[in-house]
Symmetry: C2
Subunit: 347 residues, 2 copies
DNA sequence: TTTAGCACTCAAGCCAACGGAGTGCTAACC
DNA sequence: GGTTAGCACTCCGTTGGCTTGAGTGCTAAA
């Protein structure tokens, strides 16, 4: 691909930013004006034809102005993604939004997605922290019915997951209590990613000493852990903000989009790909993802973490045509804020 | 209001059921035909004019057919609500849908709303069981940070709620453990609705005996309980089914509706009003509710329970124009199924 | 290489005409 | 007196032609 000279670049930028603002195709006259009138529209037309040939711009139909192709948009985004700082006032507002949050981590995350949706006027999403990235705190077995055991797993960061295990035989609460202390001791301060291995190792040892009941307890813990690790979750707020974009005033598109939102597993997959430790803001255009239904949206995301460990992803989903330069700093700042809050609170 | 004679009734039914099927206003000729040709369209026109005068039918404009008013629809619904049995095949299918559910009650509820949405082709909703209607099983205090305590509350039916309490002073895990047994003993088998009173009473006694730490523990329990009781939740599945109805192909209406769905508190309020112990299927037209945004939908609901205690509400939300006679038996049967499952599992 | 000019294209808005569904009313009918 | 046929009238939705305006590509001159 040919390099773009300065003028090409400028025209491309003008077309794209014009399009992002108005949503309408941008014509040569408009560009010429914004260019300061130094070049005539005819010249611009030539440049635009070149850019079209390069696959960066396209025409919805002859006699319409140009809009960017996905490739063109990508190029543009890469060039603006080195982010500006968010201005002081906005920062204050975002910090303020966190003030009355309760200690529960769920509240924190839900609040975050709300913040994102409100400040960016798009859909805000927060991917639930990866359980395996957190540290074991406590496990509790409760005998719900003679053959059903509820297992509650708590991580140091305050994540709680519970699941119910159908157990083949009757087991008493006393037995469960007896061993739960041992399991708690065994797993103390272990990253959840390593818990499984530890349990399995221990199960072997227990078998060797013929401690059947302990083996059983471990088994239960093991099962519960599996369900927990398989669980993923996501908070979405402000989906209806998307309805305000003219690109989704078409009912068909709209429906397609909302259907994609309804099946969260696809969204989770998408956000998962955006999880990169230590990363700054990242933009994924729908066409670049593997989720066909999300073709017409774009995800501006950032990773949040505690200390060095990347926990999850948060971000904003909106139409391809968004005010990226406004939203990018917000996402960035929100991710930092959340990371800070997580770091401060639990030690 | 004048009584309707048989013919009036028949015409009303014909108009409404025709309208429910097609969505278009129904004209006199159509009714005359469906009537078996025994009466001419002119006669029908006279009857229809009468019904309009009574406020049961209305015309979108002169020279259009008639559609029911809300009052007319209400009358019609009241007459058909004595429900038919669901046919054997559908029953099988619904039962089948529950087969692979895990023991966790959350799964059960989510599955239920899924079932409703799929079988009725509308949005399925399930209101989270009222915590105060369930029975205390277990409480657990976990010291998350020196000043933060996580309280986990479990009901006999397997509901789990947790909250984090910021505690003014440092409290050790040992202290918490020491008293949690006492609290558990104290609240054993108590309906959650009565727990609060019991705790308060006990706090007085503890104060009298100067058992400060116990008072504190009770205080924590008390706080956690409050948050828990305030919590209400709701599962919604298949919102996008609503988008298929032609009445919501208008983007404005659509938006209004989805916004109402996004703020769950309003939905919860609506469903709450439908909670009536021992009740059969109930229909609430949007115009009859206090939620303005839900004007154009209708809720077909039923109460699910365990034994004698009404736990929550489930149902279907769809446009005013729905296939009520098909959906009513489904909602009814689903409510029974869920109640049965809840009764069977936990004893 | 840039620019002015011109012919051409296409979407979108406007308007008038038309067809169809349905009504209300009147006068005849049983 | 209730019922029906007939008729004039109303109103919506669709169709199709027409116009307008934004924008293009090409050509020829600067």
């Amino acid at each position: 691909m040919n390099e773009l000279n300065e003028r090409d670049q400028k025209v491309l930028d003008a077309v794209i930013s014009g399009y992002l603002k108005s949503g309408d195709p941008v014509g040569s006259r408009t560009v010429s004006k914004n260019y300061g009138g130094k070049v005539s529209s005819a010249t611009i037309r030539n440049v635009m034809a070149d850019l079209e040939e390069m696959g960066l711009l396209q025409q919805p139909h002859t006699s319409a102005g140009r809009i960017p192709t996905d490739r063109g948009l990508r190029l543009y985004l890469d060039s603006i993604i080195q982010l500006e700082q968010l201005d002081q006032k906005q920062r204050q507002l975002i910090r303020g939004a966190y003030e009355q949050t309760s200690g529960a981590i769920e509240d924190l995350l839900r609040r975050t997605s709300k913040v994102l949706s409100v400040f960016c006027r798009q859909a805000g999403v927060v991917l639930w922290p990866k359980f395996e990235a957190t540290v074991f705190k406590h496990i509790e077995f409760i005998r719900l019915t003679p053959r059903q055991i509820m297992v509650i797993l708590i991580s140091k960061s305050g994540l709680v997951e519970h699941s119910v295990i159908d157990w083949g035989e009757v087991i008493s609460q006393e037995t469960l209590d007896k061993y739960s202390d041992q399991v708690n001791e065994l797993l103390k301060d272990l990253p959840l990613g390593e818990v499984k291995a530890r349990i399995l190792k221990q199960m072997k040892d227990a078998k060797a000493t013929f401690d059947q009941l302990f083996t059983k307890t471990l088994n239960i813990a093991q099962q519960a852990l599996q369900t927990t690790l398989d669980n993923s979750n996501i908070y979405i707020e402000g989906q209806t903000n998307l309805l305000n974009s003219p690109e989704f005033s078409d009912v068909g598109r709209m429906r397609k989009l909302l259907q994609a939102f309804e099946d969260k597993s696809r969204l989770i997959r998408l956000l998962d790909t955006a999880l990169n430790p230590g990363g700054r803001v990242q933009i994924i255009l729908g066409s670049e993802s593997e989720v066909r239904e999300l073709e017409e949206v774009s995800l501006i995301s950032s990773t949040y973490s505690r200390g060095e460990t990347a926990l999850g992803v948060l971000g904003v989903i909106g139409p391809l045509r968004m005010d990226y330069s406004r939203i990018i700093p917000i996402v960035d700042f929100t991710a930092r804020s959340l990371s800070n809050l997580l770091a401060e609170e639990r030690n």
